[in-house]
């Protein structure tokens, strides 16, 4: 799980059975004390592997939306909830709720969220602590996992803050100027999962092609199932980027795009949700 705090933005991403929505009211209150008013809210998640293990309200997206709406001020009047469901794999839906005070988005950052399941077993081994690691702390074991897995090659410019969990599991945050990235790994066979997320701008000179970054991140895990949710703030949706991601993942990782869905959210931009599986699957 990760938390990012910018001067006017907070991103919090939590796994397991955490009660993420309980953070909304206190964070709004803390911001209020600093003279900051909520402008926009976005809540998103994939379909859980173990939905019955979740506590209320996470057992139903409708209930989650009710809780979020009750936590928000009425000034965020442009609201929309959407479940983007691939026709070929209804169990892998992407759930999004947004609320905004303005119909136009002021955010020109592209957020890419990658969810990967059924990780390659050999690659997943990098995220188990090895014999002798118990002598080291979780920071040094995390650094070893970062190096062994190749995560340090995804963005060579990023400073990586990593952590190894006991007996397995891994989290890292990457810091590169004003751009963040984050990876979380649950490597156990049967419910293995990894996520990669980064925020970037399509207009930053010198920043790498998003499809190349995604290709390197996904190659660390070689999963059997990949979904990518890309959120374009403002009017920045770029269909060429969507197509380029599909071309690069096909060429470099032999992943075929099985589904591509798009939806627009007032004041919060456009979300594109792509699903991939290996071509030979």
């Amino acid at each position: 799980s990760s938390l990012f705090v910018y001067p006017t933005k907070i991103i919090i991403k939590t796994c397991g059975t955490t009660q993420l929505l309980k953070s909304i009211r206190p964070l709004i209150h803390l911001a209020r004390n600093l003279g900051l008013t909520l402008r926009a809210c976005r809540y998103s998640r994939g379909s859980f592997i173990f939905p019955k293990a979740q506590p209320f309200p996470y057992t139903s997206f409708k209930d989650e939306v009710i809780v979020v709406e009750e936590s928000l001020p009425k000034s965020l009047c442009y609201r929309k909830a959407s479940v983007m469901t691939p026709s070929n794999n209804p169990s892998r839906a992407w759930h999004v709720f947004t609320a905004s005070a303005d119909v136009e988005s002021d955010e020109h950052v592209v957020v890419v969220e990658v969810c990967m399941t059924e990780l390659d077993r050999v690659n997943a081994r990098s995220f188990f602590k090895r014999k002798g690691d118990e002598k080291n702390n979780s920071d040094s074991a995390g650094k070893e996992m970062t190096r062994l897995s190749g995560i340090d090659n995804i963005n060579a410019n990023a400073y990586i803050c990593d952590f190894a969990f006991d007996p397995c599991g891994y989290s890292m945050n990457g810091v590169d100027g004003d751009r963040y990235s984050t990876i979380h790994v649950t490597p156990e066979d049967g419910f293995s999962y990894a996520s990669f997320e980064c925020g970037l701008s399509l207009y930053d000179n010198g920043h790498e092609d998003i499809s190349e970054v995604l290709s390197r991140a996904i190659d660390v895990f070689r999963p059997s199932d990949v979904s990518i949710a890309t959120t374009y703030g403002g009017e920045d949706y770029n269909h060429e980027v969507t197509k380029r991601v599909e071309r690069v993942l096909a060429k470099k990782l032999d992943l075929k795009c099985r589904s591509r869905l798009m939806d627009e959210f007032p004041g919060s931009g456009t979300v594109v949700y792509q699903s991939f599986t290996p071509r030979r699957k």
């Binding site: 799980s1 990760s2 938390l3 990012f4 705090v5 910018y6 001067p7 006017t8 907070i10 991103i11 919090i12 939590t14 796994c15 397991g16 955490t18 009660q19 993420l20 309980k22 953070s23 909304i24 206190p26 964070l27 709004i28 803390l30 911001a31 600093l34 003279g35 900051l36 008013t37 909520l38 402008r39 926009a40 809210c41 976005r42 809540y43 998640r45 994939g46 592997i49 173990f50 979740q54 920071d139 995390g142 400073y159 990593d162 952590f163 969990f165 989290s171 890292m172 945050n173 810091v175 100027g177 963040y180 984050t182 790994v185 649950t186 156990e188 049967g190 419910f191 999962y193 996520s195």
Partner: protein, 66 residues
């Protein structure tokens, strides 16, 4: 599939703010001025804790355990 295991799929929340009555340049740190104890209390409600942290000139990043 296992009957029960660790849920990897994350919930993600993003909140964006604007400054009420003055340009953000007068308070360039903005939300980064929230003290750690207050953040920790919020995370306690969420049922997770900070295990590692790093910051640069632009933002603060925390790795959390749940």
């Amino acid at each position: 599939m296992a009957v029960s295991g660790f849920e990897g799929f994350e919930k993600r929340l993003e909140l964006r703010f604007f400054d009420d009555d003055k340009p953000i340049t007068k308070n360039p740190m903005g939300l980064r001025l929230i003290d750690f104890e207050s953040l920790d209390q919020v995370l306690n409600e969420v049922q997770c804790t900070v295990v590692s942290a790093v910051a640069n000139r632009s933002f603060d990043a925390y790795v959390l355990s749940e």
